[in-house]
């Protein structure tokens, strides 16, 4: 396995989020981490992306402890799309995507032919080529998220971590971004994403990690592991599971406390 964490104790200051956590990302998978609010899913992703230093245990990348590798070297193998980033004033799409090339550049090698090709590919793959000269501030939320994805893509890493990539998007843009992620996975990248929507997670993940209170409750192929009992255990939600008519994956139909509308 290229990326895994073992014996992780994760905390922000005094607040401990997880202890003795072992997490493994299968190579070539589209892994989705899911769980209720404050279960530690984003924290786990941040630890895997070396944004958060574990208090105990270590994250390993390609056989080395990730913090022992030069940071720029890690950035050429593992990319992250953070939950929120700041758009610099007046930056164009092409410029922002170009910044993804930072780990491949040096003071005296600011823009190689390879940089140019990687940016062109990333913009093409995310469908933002036509927006290249537009200012990022003027774009819609969906377009903007595609631009950030393009920037992460331009980094040309074989592992890409995405922290809630669909959070501020409407449903159409959510599907658009997830389809794009599935394409990227199909091209051979390992993807790890934190998502909120269980149904979307079941649809797109090849490997699902279900967390609660800093522990991994279940993991594996969503078709095999997602059951009504699991959802009850993890989310305290009674539900029915049916088959997604589109994808054949599990689909969660939550039970409501009240049945206000009866079918006529």
């Amino acid at each position: 396995m290229r990326l895994y964490g073992s014996g992780l104790t994760l905390s922000y200051d005094q607040r401990v989020v997880a202890t003795e956590l072992d997490v493994t990302i299968p190579d070539g998978s589209f892994t989705v981490i899911i769980g209720p609010n404050a279960c530690g899913k984003s924290t786990t992703l941040r630890a895997l992306a070396r944004m958060l230093k574990p208090r105990a245990g270590a994250v390993h990348l390609d056989g080395s402890v990730i913090t022992s590798l030069p940071s720029k070297e890690v950035a050429r193998r593992l990319g992250l799309l953070p939950q929120t980033s700041i758009v610099p004033d007046g930056i164009t799409v092409a410029d922002l995507v170009g910044r993804g090339r930072y780990p491949h550049q040096r003071l005296m090698r600011q823009w190689s032919k390879q940089d140019e090709a990687a940016v062109a590919f990333a913009m093409e793959a995310t469908g933002v080529t036509d927006l290249a000269e537009r200012c990022v501030d003027e774009l819609s939320g969906g377009q903007r998220q595609r631009v950030w994805l393009a920037m992460a893509l331009a980094q040309e890493t074989s592992i890409l971590l995405l922290d809630e990539p669909t959070t501020f998007l409407d449903i159409a843009h959510q599907i658009e971004v997830l389809d794009l992620c599935a394409d990227l996975h199909e091209q051979g990248r390992t993807l790890v994403a934190v998502l909120h929507d269980l149904n979307q997670a079941c649809r797109y993940a090849t490997h699902l990690i279900v967390m609660r209170e800093g522990r991994i409750v279940a993991e594996g192929d969503p078709v095999e592991i997602v059951t009504a009992e699991l959802v009850q255990e993890v989310f305290d939600l009674r539900c029915e599971i049916i088959q997604d008519p589109q994808s054949g994956t599990p689909m969660i139909i939550p039970e409501s406390r009240r049945r206000t509308r009866t079918p006529a």
Partner: protein, 336 residues
Amino acid sequence: MTVLRLGMWSLRLSPRGVATAAGMIVVGVAVSLVALSTGEFTVPIPDIVASVFGRGTPAAELIVGKLRAPRVVTGLLVGAAFGLSGAILQSLTRNPLGSPDFLGFTAGASTGGIIAVVMGGSAWQIAGGSLLGCVASAVLVYALAFRNGVQSYRLILVGIGVGAVLVSVDWYLLTRANIHDAASAGTWITGSLSGRGWEHAIPVACALVALLPVCALVSRPLRMMEMGDDAAKAAGIGVEKVRAVAIIVGVLLCGVATAAAGPVIFVALAAPQLARRLSRSPGVTMAASALMGAVLLVTADLAAQRVFAPVQLPVGIMTAALGGTYLVFMLRKERR
């Protein structure tokens, strides 16, 4: 963006950025020549050129070489240092208000300088006092704003608060000082280039020579950090290290500039933003900010000498008036 390539080396430049820089250099040279040539005694420009090469008339040598040139050169260097300091600190705080004026660093330098003035210090001691004051206030503001790292808005709010306290300390010192010291301290805190000699220009020049390479090294990582710490870390940047180096460089530049000319406000605040708008570059750019700072300060100093002639204003009054106008303009624009 235009790319220059040579073998495995490549450099990326925006044509508009290059044109803006060239334009600022032309304006800077023109204003400097006017400042060197005009005044109570006019020295024709050919004579100035001659005296630069050591072949001028004795009168021109005296007026240009001893009186006007050190003032102009100090103005250019101090302006560049303020512009760079503002660029670094605004980039770091991701806020156009994140200049040393608002972070309390300039106020710290003033207080340090006034303490030296009131204690009857020499010019060197005043310069040292303001440099120390600048560094001390930066340490204080940083420490007060620190809570698991430093948030930009907290840094600015704490800076404004510390600045306000320091201004009251300044006034206390002025009321306790004798009338002679109070008068010279009063001139000093507005910031002035009058009577500046080579002994003022040379330390700033040395500081710039030492710190410019560091600025060049941190400018690319700083630009990445404008997108947020996570985005920068994901690109492989040691965010904490870059931030520490950048703060130290920003504070030193501000401190050295203040030591030479007193706390001239507005240049560090406005230069990076004006440079950014002119060159239409995303985020803050160092080289353009330094050039803009230099042009702004020599121009303001020329205006301060000529507009109300024969009354000579300290340049700080000129920049304060311009700065107030600029701030109103900026805040109005932000509110839209």
